[in-house]
Subunit: 495 residues, 2 copies
């Protein structure tokens, strides 16, 4: 028996179990916790996070990892040691003092962001964001990935991704999206488009029923998953066979349904990761980009497709007693219109919102942009990318929570995942040409089996980039996504 191997496996298992416990504490906080429970809750989460961090940077773990690096191990164990060593080394690069300061400032910044948003005044948030940016620049120095300083942040969410690689990809993506958007905007269909069916009445109770229905069709059975309600949709893996999805209702009657599919996409991935690696680093999702690809694959590529609505439209029409035909419905589902708020934007303009944030983050980390200039630059870039300008900070620079938590380098993964999702679908159609027929019957089993083989069961044994390369025979390619959009929206807008 290899003692070092046993030790690192125990460490990984304990960290996983603590993370799952935190996931439950968070899930409960956002679903069932009485409001006054919040004080104890933040102390509980903070203690468990601290215990994980202590384990991660413990000398005992590091010593065993170093010993194992010199040993002859099986391929799988060798890979596990390599991956864990990288993660541990990165954590050890950040001084205790730095972590405490970041944690302190982000907790204050969250409250400041909420208040600033409520009062619609960026100035209230600005001093906190300035401190966070300063700390994040410091973090890049500690981590010190090769190349652009921002790589140290990006790599935390999307292993192996670099500014050098991403910049030209986003540049191409931006150009193609704006071209397509302009063509659409010039079309007659765009000028006369309006929502009539989506303005009809959709009872909450029936919305809920259809959310349950689609989750079940996606094989998320109640023995290992739940769907609850809150304001902001999310999903959390609580245990090996226990995943929680949360959706909610918004003005758009499709919000709950689409977000259920989005969270169900995440949930399917988490549930089907390789069980034998449930308690070690190889059983994790390899990057946020690929995680997001699963959500967007289901909610957008499938959930906004005509095959899908061939199945669901008659059900919706009957349940909600809708007036109007399939063609009108499908147009409204895929209504393109530049809008101010990222999470309410359409499939086409979504990535432009991401590119805006990526460019601002790069500038902040490089030092070419000052925090105080953000509202002004936000408007300028919105004008350039989407042709519209927010009238206030709330619908502009204050709309996302991410920066208040210090999550720089996170936004790009949304666009990466979106591109991946289109690449996966293209490949799926190649390998399973009859899949759209099945979708038209509300049968997703073949898709799930395919994703299981190509994505889920790989776990973290390959990087996201390697998984996509192997599955789709090429790495991140924005052209596949824009080609998909061009085909779909040219038909819809007759351009």
């Amino acid at each position: 028996m290899n003692n070092d191997l046993e030790l690192i496996n125990n460490y990984q298992k304990e960290m996983t179990l603590l993370n799952q416990s935190i996931a439950l504490l968070e899930w409960d906080q956002l679903t069932y916790m009485p409001s006054k429970g919040v004080g104890s809750r933040s102390e509980q989460i903070s203690l468990l996070s601290n215990l994980i961090h202590k384990k991660m940077i413990s000398n005992e773990l590091f010593t065993s990892l170093n010993a194992l690096k010199k040993q002859k191990l099986s391929n799988k164990n060798g890979l596990m040691v390599k991956k864990l060593y990288k993660e541990v080394s990165k954590s050890r690069k950040l001084p205790e003092e730095y972590i405490k300061e970041l944690s302190k400032i982000t907790s204050l910044a969250y409250n400041a962001w909420e208040l600033a948003r409520k009062e619609n005044r960026f100035k209230k948030f600005q001093p906190y964001l300035e401190k966070i940016v300063k700390l994040k620049k410091q973090e890049c120095k500690y981590i010190n990935e090769p190349g652009h300083e921002y790589n140290s942040l990006l790599d935390q969410y999307e292993e192996g991704m670099t500014v050098e690689r991403l910049k030209p990809i986003f540049f191409k993506l931006e150009k193609n999206l704006i071209d397509l958007l302009n063509k659409i905007k010039e079309s007659g269909n765009y000028r006369k488009q309006k929502k009539s069916m989506l303005k009809q009445h959709f009872s909450i109770e029936k919305q809920r029923k259809l959310c349950d229905d689609v989750a079940k069709r996606m094989r998320l059975l109640s023995s290992f998953s739940r769907l609850d309600l809150t304001t902001h949709p999310f999903s959390e893996k609580i245990g090996v066979d226990d995943v929680r999805m949360v959706t909610g209702f918004r003005e758009s009657p499709l919000f709950s349904f689409e977000s259920t599919m989005h969270e169900a996409g995440h949930a399917l991935y988490e549930l089907n990761l390789p069980e034998e690696d449930a308690y070690n680093i190889l059983g994790k999702v390899p990057s946020l980009g690929i995680h997001e690809s699963q959500a967007r694959f289901w909610a957008n590529i499938i959930g906004q497709s005509s095959s899908f609505w061939k199945f669901y439209f008659p059900i919706f029409k009957k349940e909600f007693n809708l007036k109007g035909d399939f063609n009108q419905w499908f147009k409204e589902i895929n209504y393109v219109k530049p809008s101010l708020v990222r999470i309410e934007s359409d499939e086409l303009t979504y990535c432009l919102h991401i590119i805006l944030r990526f460019e601002l983050e790069l500038g902040l980390i490089e030092g070419s942009i000052k925090v105080s200039d953000l509202p002004k630059l936000w408007s300028k870039k919105m004008k350039e990318l989407l042709g519209i300008v927010p009238r206030n900070d709330k619908d502009g620079v204050l709309q996302d929570v991410h920066w208040s938590g210090g999550s720089f380098g996170y936004f790009p993964t949304y666009a990466i995942g979106t591109i991946y999702s289109s690449q996966l679908y293209k490949q799926l159609l190649k390998e399973r040409p009859l899949v759209e027929e099945k979708i038209r019957k509300g049968n997703f089993n073949e898709i799930i089996l395919w994703l299981d083989k190509k994505i889920y069961k790989v776990g973290n044994k390959s990087t996201a980039d390697e998984i996509i390369k192997k599955a789709c025979r090429e790495g991140l390619n924005p052209k596949v996504f824009t080609d998909y959009l061009i085909k779909k929206y040219s038909e819809l807008y007759e351009i």
Copy 2:
């Protein structure tokens, strides 16, 4: 700044936060967790329990406690050190190996108990219980409280309580209860008693509404508490201002209502413990007996009183469209009849079920009773105490979960709490003579304020015994309880 004091306070806070996290993991397991989550859940709970245990027996904590014992401290800190030292010393007496073995066997025993119950065969459970009894005898040797060996178990749940003190109390209680029961059984009212109103229809939805209503009247507002549904009622404190009650529906239409009051009694106590001691040993409930006294005070003494039903009967009558009058209703609420299952037994016979278990536990620990003889002895004692005999193990020796978990010395606290509850009510009436008028109006505020002062706010600064002595001017006195029963049931049965 006293470093040792800071250290022991940090330890206590971390152990409390870990315990609260476990409480949430348990609550979730019994309410919302998908069934397949159970595997990960037991690993999560086991890890956190282990972390607490490691903290409890850590040399660092023990060294600081020993240092503090020699220092001049404030009265309060001195008391905290004394109490914590006692608890820590006790934990340190149990070898690691012993704890692992007990944890292993109880986890197997729980499954064996469930199976044995399902198949109605004590023999399936017997070998596990034999091992548990052997380990518990071992535990008594490790702990080694003075006097009877069983004291080492009893003291864990009811600090300071001994067999020497409890035996004559239970002897007196048994005699008086059997006398009263026999008198009732000979009465004409007993012979002709029957349930008619409780056999009518009580819709689940309205039961739920009334459960919410009574919890709210007991000041358990939704900002710091919840009431959920499951099969076995329980309550858990999840955070300083966060307590969860769980009730359920059974054949008796009053089960959900009574168990809500029972759990609400526990919940009120937990919520109103001294906040300044939320994270140290002085902020805990001092014993299970006094905890139970709060539950039984509300569910039995108040919840089965005529004053209480003067308020609630008209509401019940209206909600459930009941046929029959108050007198009949009140009789049915307080229907006395020896029955086989403890948790379904009436207020009068309940403690006889406890005495039976106490006597069997004593015999097992003393070695005068063999586990294999339990079913036979159970029937013999049931005959002696209640005049009835179970026809199978399921309704007899297999009915309670406690022994499968190694909880010996726990049952007596139910009877202790029952006696305490009657003593508290007697004293309350002396000090607040108008309280029954308030109860008749559904107003419990004065009671809660009184309990807050006498019980809740003391926290663990006194033992249960000291609290009751101070509040009621005498310690545990079974006569107060039997006097209360004699008065109430003499009227009801006209004896």
